[in-house]
């Protein structure tokens, strides 16, 4: 819905992501706000923000794979793990700088994604979800046992801090800039994908794959491309994860993480990049609130103090995802669209 008096007078304008001057101003304002945060925020708040940003990158990948192309993946955490361990190995054993390790982590996860995306040529829907579930277990097993000499097995791996010349990204403020820069770049390209040829092809495949094939879309190529891109994002997220966690082990990339990532996409709304951001902020924000509230609740119920956080996260996330699936399957981004339409039309109703 456009505000009154805004018209497109050319194809370029019709395709544009940012349409009006006001939107440009707001975007720039937002970016300035985002990158000026370290100047006046506490370090713990910055940590929370960049933790969410890393998950946002991962969910962007899922948005391309599941939201645009309709290929459900419940093994996303495993591909994040591939990215994290690639970074870990490249940085700690070969001393690669971060600007080379991050793309390589993306590439290795992307290639892994293509391998496990191969079944998508033969099966779809629920069966494909099972194949990605298998991917989750098989990848984690490879990291834990056969590749033990490289990855450190269940013991994990210590990653050196990212550094650029004299700058070492070892404190929340500098890490914030590194992670935010990557997140913004990845976010803009994720937003951009939906209006390119591959993006349109993904949407066509999601809506009806037979019809898409009839229209001349090469299903094999585009499905695998979706897997490659989705897992590339996962790999980049994993790489960032490795740089801020510093210590990585296979247990950080378990099945429940995979489920939560899909959950974030659902809570935010499947078919929109903005939704991916909304969903991640909602779920992880609630998780943070739980972290803060845990000591207070454990004082009231001391019996459950030691399991409260793990169990609480499961119950909270599980229940929220269930509620969204039942009451608002189109997610927060749908509500956001309704809100935007209403203020653009104000004071009229249509």
């Amino acid at each position: 819905m456009r505000p009154c008096g805004t018209f497109d007078i050319g194809y370029a304008q019709d395709m544009a992501i940012v349409r009006t001057r006001l939107q440009w101003v707001m975007w720039m304002g937002f970016l300035v706000f985002l990158f000026s945060l370290p100047a006046y925020c506490s370090e713990s708040l910055l940590t929370v923000i960049y933790t969410i940003a890393v998950s946002v990158v991962a969910v962007f990948g899922l948005y391309i794979l599941t939201g645009l192309c309709g290929q459900l993946s419940v093994g996303h955490a495993a591909f994040i793990g591939v990215g994290a361990f690639t970074t870990g190995i490249l940085a700690s054993k070969f001393g690669w700088p971060f600007w080379a390790a991050i793309p390589c982590a993306g590439l290795s996860a992307g290639i892994g994604g293509v391998v496990f995306g191969l079944p998508s040529l033969r099966i779809k829907g629920f069966y494909l979800a099972m194949a990605t579930l298998a991917a989750q277990f098989i990848i984690m097993w490879i990291i834990r046992y056969p590749a033990k000499s490289l990855t450190g097995g269940p013991g994990g791996l210590t990653v050196p801090y990212a550094s650029l010349g004299n700058i070492i990204f070892d404190n929340p403020r500098s890490l914030y800039y590194l992670i935010m820069l990557v997140t913004v770049i990845m976010g803009l390209s994720a937003k951009n994908i939906s209006r390119t040829r591959p993006g349109r092809a993904f949407i066509a495949i999601r809506d009806n794959d037979l019809a898409a094939e009839v229209m001349g879309i090469n299903l094999v190529y585009y499905k695998l491309l979706a897997f490659f891109l989705g897992c590339f994002y996962a790999g980049v997220a994993g790489s960032l994860w490795a740089y801020y966690m510093i210590f990585i082990n296979p247990f950080q990339f378990s099945l429940d993480k995979s489920v939560w990532y899909v959950g974030m996409l659902i809570v935010g709304g499947m078919g929109s990049a903005t939704g991916a951001i909304f969903g991640t902020i909602t779920l992880l924000g609630l998780g943070e609130i739980l972290t803060v509230a845990t000591p207070a609740i454990s004082r009231v119920f001391p019996d459950i103090a030691d399991t409260l956080f793990t169990a609480g996260t499961k119950v909270l996330f599980g229940v929220i995802i269930v509620l969204f699936l039942i009451f608002e399957p189109r997610g927060i981004s749908h509500r956001w669209e309704i809100f935007k339409a209403s203020y653009r039309l104000h004071p009229y109703t249509y």
Binding site: R122, G153, L219, G312, V315, G318, L325
Partner: protein, 293 residues
Amino acid sequence: MTILIQVAVNGIMVGGLYALIALGVVLIYKSCSIFNFAQGALLMIGAYFCWQLLVRFGLPLWLSFIGTIGFATIMGLIIERFCLRPLIGQPILSAVMLTLALGYAIDGIVLLVWGGTEQLFPVFPRTPIVLGNISLSQEYLWSFVIALILFGVIAAFFRFTMSGLQMRAVAEDHQVARSLGVKVTQVFAQTWVMAAIVAAIGGILLGSLQGISTTMSMDGLTAFPVVLLGGLESTLGAIVAGPLIGLIENLGALYLDPIVGGGIKQVAPFVVMLVVLIVKPFGLFGQKRIERI
């Protein structure tokens, strides 16, 4: 050779349990076409509830068993009415995600109520039966027998009772079933109750074998390869594929673990599942549907 036979026998016995878990999944898929990822969690909450009645409240076994069945019935009804029924007509992805999220929510509830410590849960006699060189642990044998009996009961239920027939009709076609006077929603509710009861029994058996802990819902995951190998709609498939998967993972662990360094037992079922998905997605006994991609 003795080791080989011993490992194989153990595998088949554990497989009986997998078959039992898979049976619950197949039951639901047969009539609702929903794959229940929460089966492992249902299993766990059933086991914990029975343990609560038996050990903490000190009730006799038969009474706590009946109590658990009652609890499972209520659980099944609640899940069907409040979670799955609103999703009728929604895309498959919603149902998959819903059962996954529900499973984790139940996991969390169990962890909150009963804590994370592992508990012993003795139901069966522990002395093993020795046949020649092979020892058969009695509790595995018991659970295998119970799995077979349950399979027989369910097969008979589908063949000889009116509600079984109704379930098959609903599985075939909702609209036809409706026009013949079958209440589809009621059948769904019955199915979930049955699946929850099967899960609870499976949970009691599994708990009596290895103690109850919060990793039980992960054991439930092993049922998925079993279901896919056997075929989604086939109870016979579940009963055949269960021991098969048990055999594969135990033999794999025996021969391959020294080579790759371990973990075969956990990963082998999923490798089998991936192969099945690529080669023969409808499984050994499933209905062959033509699904062009």
